[in-house]
Assembly symmetry: C2
Homo-oligomer: 334 residues x 2
């Protein structure tokens, strides 16, 4: 069932079949009909391998992320796919498990398909260099960046919004606020922590960070540990959706109620947070907008347009819901 089968069946050359299928050069109406009938008759399906080999690259864009079960990446994938599909490009999704070796393997795998470009959310402490990325020709970083690597990147204004969230808790009267963050080497952790620390220091408060591998289980453990070590804690900012889940789990473990006993502002919204009791206040990350922006940058690169190796910032915003209250002590004034 190759193009030659069709050609033989229609009594024309392979090239003519190719022309009909690609709608290229000159083909008479009669021949076109014969060819299409033959395609139908033999059940021909084009072979991407042959086409891509000839073209020296594949109509794909690689997307390497850490974990598709993190809703942030699932939404990102969906947004990216929507834009790229319109241009006939296929997203090739690979998980790195936030592991350096796996990341390397997945990048080589993507590379072996000679894609049109690479979208990458690098693993923690990724050791990738500009040279590694250069072999993809076109590349855009998403969400996370790599220190020392100049590349176009799409991020959100994490420092600003995290500082805003922290100030919100301070304004509600909290003084002992913990930041439950992601992995300590991730650029996202750094930026969000920076925003938190800046706000704490501006208010003359001492910061307390704890790091997790951004799973609910690890955040749950981190929060209970923090609460045991620092019983005065009355509030937290949390790194992302799984971490927020873990914090809620930890509060439940410690029999603390939100917002009566403990206040919380999360980073990245999720559908259930609006209807949680209490509704969880969050920094809503503009995931879809980030995906669209990244996809557009990729298309710019593919089309040969100039793209500066700078961070493109898509702003998030604080959604005030019900998870912030006055601190415990404030209810029993001295």
């Amino acid at each position: 069932m190759t193009i030659k089968t069709v050609a033989a069946h229609a009594g024309v050359s392979a090239q003519t079949v190719s022309r009909v299928l690609r709608g290229n050069g000159y083909v008479s109406e009669e021949t076109r009909r014969k060819v299409l009938a033959a395609v139908e008759a033999v059940g021909y399906r084009p072979n991407a391998m042959g086409r891509s080999l000839r073209a020296t690259r594949t109509p794909m864009v690689g997307l390497v992320i850490t974990d598709i079960t993190n809703p942030f990446y699932a939404r990102l994938h969906k947004a990216l796919e929507a834009v790229l599909r319109r241009r006939g490009l296929t997203l090739m999704l690979l998980n790195s498990d936030d592991n350096l070796e796996t990341e390397q393997e997945q990048l080589e795998l993507v590379n072996s398909y000679r894609p049109r470009g690479l979208l990458l959310a690098p693993a923690v402490r990724s050791t990738l260099t500009e040279q590694d990325l250069a072999s993809f020709g076109n590349y855009v970083l998403v969400s996370r960046t790599i220190p020392g690597v100049a590349a176009p990147a799409v991020v959100t204004n994490e420092q600003e919004t995290m500082a805003e969230a922290t100030r919100e808790l301070i304004a509600a009267g909290h003084r002992d606020i913990v930041a439950v963050l992601g992995p300590s080497g991730a650029t996202t952790t750094r930026r969000r922590e920076d925003g938190y620390r800046a706000a704490m220091q501006a208010a003359g408060l001492g910061p307390l960070s704890c790091y997790t591998d951004q799973t609910a289980g690890s955040a749950r453990h981190a929060l209970t540990e923090a609460l045991r070590a620092h019983p005065a804690l009355t509030a937290a900012v949390s790194f992302n959706t799984p971490v927020t889940e873990g914090v809620l789990a930890g509060l439940s473990d410690m029999k603390l109620f939100c917002p009566e006993d403990f206040s919380l502002i999360g980073f990245t919204d999720a559908p259930w947070m609006e209807f949680f009791r209490p509704p969880i206040s969050v920094i809503a990350q503009p995931v879809e907008a980030m995906g669209e922006r990244a996809a557009e940058l990729m298309l710019d690169l593919i089309d040969g347009r100039e793209v500066a190796p700078v961070e493109h910032v898509v702003p998030g915003r604080l959604l005030r819901r019900g998870s912030v209250g006055a601190p415990r002590s404030a209810r029993y004034p001295e």
Copy 2:
């Protein structure tokens, strides 16, 4: 940077390079070293297109699902990938948006890469035939099936568990229970509805179903409509995670509290449900086990082992948490 570049650089033939890289036939230790040095020197990366063209198929398995932002599919993808990667197979993920045309397009796309097999969660009322699937050689359906199409499939015991959930509500005293389901044409909807109806009828109760497109928004709307039309409703079973989210949203809209005013049992667990107030009782779907099972069936098919075109059932189970209470009326006995 092809194999020929390396060959020239090492002063050997292309075939010898291929032998070294594939660890195939006889190669002297000295030549091996020379070749590996040349690979390093020219920065050679294998080209999957060439290899796959030669091999007439790609070391890929297609995975066509409806929506990666549905956590069920994200978890499924992760489980499948873990198993297949160990065998050197790459998952190629495509979204059908639960849309027949898109499904067809995505299947043709996957097919054009001549993968080793297809894992499919068919779109609602999919019109795919065995013949369509046959062009993939190996295929396994996951979660959903296609009426009239004999194919190996991995499903969970939806009827049973949904009946169990319904009985649980009935046992708590509920008589007016609504099922908030998925799309009315989906086999998953059918099965879950069947279980619900069977339990209702066995108890002499009249069933009430409403259908959604399995998004939170549509379930939210469906539930509020149902409550307006049937104010006596005191409980619901819900179809999946997004629908459960929508039901909770709808309850919030109607100022109904769970479980005081309204009881709920969901289908498919999610991390936040355990810490929700109240914790949501659910039928936990064994997503990871389903993924592993499906991946194993796929490997069996790829290895040429016999796989019966039957449904492989992975059992789920009811997790009793806090979202089921006595019905409103029961608190004010007549």
